[in-house]
Structures are given as structure tokens and as C-alpha cells.
């Protein structure tokens, strides 16, 4: 028991490290390498009390409740058992069950943590769960005066709208038309990736897109997509039927 007092002094942990009394108890059992099915309850109760006072947890009701529970089990263990009494129930059984159950929860926590960490590193545009259809409600009843009063309040509360000025970013469609024409002057067919510069900025991509559409409209080229999501083919030959 001398070791206990020493260990308690050396052992400095923060409250945030434990998510509850069961967590603290489990860490105690792990540190002391105790068999969970055969807990030396007197020693563990003493250490638990020492820990919650050094951790300044002794005002936390949840930890105090566990301390009281441990002391009660300790007392029950000390009660003499009659010789030949067959149905002796280990007073520690319930605690062991709870500790195992809690350990299982911690295992699931590790799993959930891993999954949510993986998911946190991916972005989605949004998530819309299937809409829940609200139960039908009865018709509202109110007078015209109430309605007008409400409208009046809303008008008074409503602020002036925020008006933003949107400045368009210049696109270089003419430049892109020049590039596409130059490429098609050299070869009869080209692909989207041939006409868009590598590591293109969004404005460049948009410029090329508008240029292609403009040239297609003018009949200078033809755009084909053999199937959905396939790469777009750009061809000089506009003689066959228009797309």
C-alpha cells in the first residue's frame, strides 16, 4: 500500500483524459495489470480514491458514486461467508460486467473515430437526407386583424436587403478561338484535353468552352460525344450531318 500513495503522487493526469469513472477505473486496472475477472477490490478502491483526490475529481458526483460503489463491494467482500453456502454471489460480478461492457463501448469508439476521421477528410457538396413528411396539421384559425398586425411587424423588422455588386471576370474567348482554330488547322480531330491548357485556370476552361460553342455555331467545327461522360471529340469536318 506504500506504493499506492507514491504512484498517486507521481501520476499527473488531466481531467479531460478521462471520460468518466469507468474510464478511470479501467486505466487503473490496466496500469496495475490487474485481472479484470479477479479485481483486488480493497487495493483498487484505495487507489481510485487517491486518484480522484489528486485529479481534483472528488467534487464530481459521478466519480464519487463509483468510489462509494467500490467501498460497498469492499465491505461485502469482507463479510464472512458461511461454510458450505452454495449460492455465493461475487459482489464484484456486476462491476466486472459493467467494466467489460464499457470496454466494448471503447472498442466501438475506436472504430467510429477511425471512420469519422476518414470521412472528415472528404468533402461533399451537401447531404440531404430523405425529406421527412410532416404530419398534416389542422387549418389555422386567426382573424384578418391578427394577420395584418403580423405583416406590419414583419415589415418593421425587415432590414434593407444587402445589395452586392458583381464584377465579371474577363474571359478571353477570342484568344481561345484563335487557339482552337490553330489546332484544327494542323489536325482534323482534337480532344478537349488538346485545346485546354495544362493546369488551366477556371477562366481559361470557360473561355475554351465558349470558344468551342461559338465555333460550332459558326459551323467551323463539330462537337461529338459518343456516349455519356465520354471525352468530347472536336473535328474540323462539318460536312456530315450536324450534331
Amino acid at each position: 500500500m506504500f506504493e499506492t500513495a507514491e504512484a498517486a503522487e507521481v501520476f499527473v493526469v488531466e481531467l479531460a483524459d478521462f471520460s468518466g469513472p469507468l474510464d478511470l477505473l479501467l486505466s487503473l486496472i490496466r496500469d496495475e495489470q490487474i485481472d479484470i475477472y479477479d479485481i483486488p477490490i480493497a487495493r483498487v478502491a484505495e487507489q481510485f480514491l487517491a486518484r480522484i483526490s489528486t485529479l481534483k475529481l472528488d467534487e464530481a458526483a459521478d466519480y464519487l458514486e463509483m468510489a462509494a460503489r467500490l467501498l460497498r463491494i469492499k465491505a461485502q467482500m469482507l463479510l464472512p461467508r458461511r461454510e458450505g453456502e452454495d449460492a455465493w454471489e461475487d459482489p464484484r460480478a456486476e462491476l466486472v460486467r459493467r467494466l467489460l461492457e464499457y470496454q466494448q463501448v471503447r472498442e466501438v469508439v475506436d472504430l467510429l473515430e477511425k471512420l469519422s476521421e476518414e470521412r472528415r477528410s472528404r468533402f461533399a457538396r451537401a447531404y440531404l437526407p430523405n425529406p421527412v413528411v410532416p404530419p398534416p396539421t389542422g387549418a389555422l384559425s386567426f382573424s384578418l386583424a391578427e394577420l395584418l398586425g403580423a405583416v406590419d411587424r414583419v415589415i418593421r423588422i425587415a432590414r434593407k436587403p444587402n445589395i452586392h455588386e458583381v464584377i465579371p471576370r474577363a474571359l478571353d474567348v477570342d484568344g481561345a478561338i484563335g487557339v482552337v482554330r490553330a489546332i484544327l488547322a494542323m489536325r482534323a480531330k482534337a480532344q478537349w484535353t488538346d485545346v485546354v491548357p495544362k493546369k488551366a485556370e477556371p477562366w481559361q476552361v470557360l473561355s475554351v468552352l465558349l470558344a468551342l460553342l461559338e465555333l460550332a455555331k459558326l459551323g467551323e467545327l463539330r462537337l461529338d460525344q459518343p456516349r455519356a461522360f465520354a471525352p468530347v471529340e472536336i473535328s474540323r469536318d462539318t460536312s456530315s450531318e450536324a450534331a
Binding site: I41, L112, S121, R122, F123, Y127
Partner: protein, 172 residues
């Protein structure tokens, strides 16, 4: 996604598979995943930092250990009430249940039979979405976990009684 479309479901599935392969093979920054009974387009993990650097999106807040414990319990025991959660965790759960509910991860799914007809909680589709799970069955079954809830060691019932008496004597 893909829940309210007037198309035979096999057509939708085929189109989704095609889109998924397309994202897979043509070197796209996104992939198509089956999630929470639907489909979702997600950016690939290797681009997380670039996306955050460009301030296009921010990662959601991490869940605390206490929140994860509570979620773990609800996921495996639902529907269940606050008292059962507190019994398993040994800690008051009110504040955590409130914040999990606010984040849309759990919802009230009914009322219990017991005293005061307690609210019963369950996980939501958003919970599945936040873990990129297709359905709850994708989590390991309780008996597949390393620490399964087994009955106490047989030794405790038979042989160890003397051993217990010994420890008891030395303890006393």
C-alpha cells in the same frame, strides 16, 4: 441522391456504376460512394489539404470522446433511453445527447414503457453519412468485437472460490 427519380432502379444503378467507373478511371478528384441508402460524390482523401488550403471547404469539428462513446452506445443498442446510456457510461449524458441531437446525429425515435415514459434515441441517416456507412449492418456485430460480452470466466464459478477466499483473507 437517386431516390426520387422516375426511372427503373436497374437503369439508375447502371448509370451510377458507369459514373463511378468514369470517376475511377479518368483520374477525377472525386469518387462516387454508396452512403446511407443513397449515393454521394466525395472528394478523394489525397486532396483534403489542397481543398482546405484553398479555403473551399473546412473539415467539420471532431467529435469528443464522450460524444463518440454515447454514439457508440446508441448505435448498438438503439432504441434506448438516457438512463441506459448513463448506466453504461457511468456519467450524466444530458448535455451530450443535446449536442448530438443538434448535430443531427441522433433523434428521438419513440418513448419507452417505463416510468415517466422516457424518450428513446436512435441514430439518423446523417450519422451514417458522417461515417460514410451504407447502413448500420456495416458496423461489426457485437459478438464480432474483440471484447465480446462473454459470461464470466468459468474459473470464477468453480475453481477460483478458494482463490478468492485466499485473497480475501490476505486483504482482510
Amino acid at each position: 441522391m437517386a431516390s426520387n427519380i422516375d426511372e427503373p432502379s436497374e437503369n439508375v444503378d447502371m448509370a451510377l456504376a458507369e459514373l463511378r467507373d468514369h470517376y475511377e478511371q479518368d483520374g477525377h478528384g472525386v469518387e462516387l460512394l454508396e452512403v446511407a441508402g443513397g449515393w454521394q460524390i466525395l472528394t478523394r482523401p489525397e486532396y483534403t489539404e489542397a481543398i482546405e488550403r484553398a479555403q473551399l471547404a473546412a473539415r467539420p469539428q471532431r467529435l469528443s470522446a464522450a460524444a463518440l462513446e454515447t454514439l457508440a452506445i446508441i448505435a448498438y443498442r438503439q432504441p434506448l433511453g438516457r438512463a441506459e446510456i448513463e448506466e453504461i457510461r457511468g456519467v450524466n449524458a444530458g448535455a451530450i445527447l443535446k449536442s448530438l441531437h443538434e448535430r443531427g446525429l441522433i433523434d428521438v425515435t419513440g418513448r419507452g414503457e417505463g416510468m415517466g415514459r422516457p424518450l428513446l434515441y436512435g441514430t439518423t441517416p446523417t450519422f451514417l453519412e458522417q461515417l460514410a456507412l451504407r447502413h448500420l449492418e456495416e458496423l461489426p456485430r457485437a459478438d464480432e468485437l474483440a471484447i465480446a460480452l462473454r459470461s464470466p470466466r468459468p474459473a470464477l464459478q468453480n475453481g477460483s472460490e478458494q482463490q478468492q477466499e485466499e485473497t480475501q483473507q490476505t486483504g482482510a
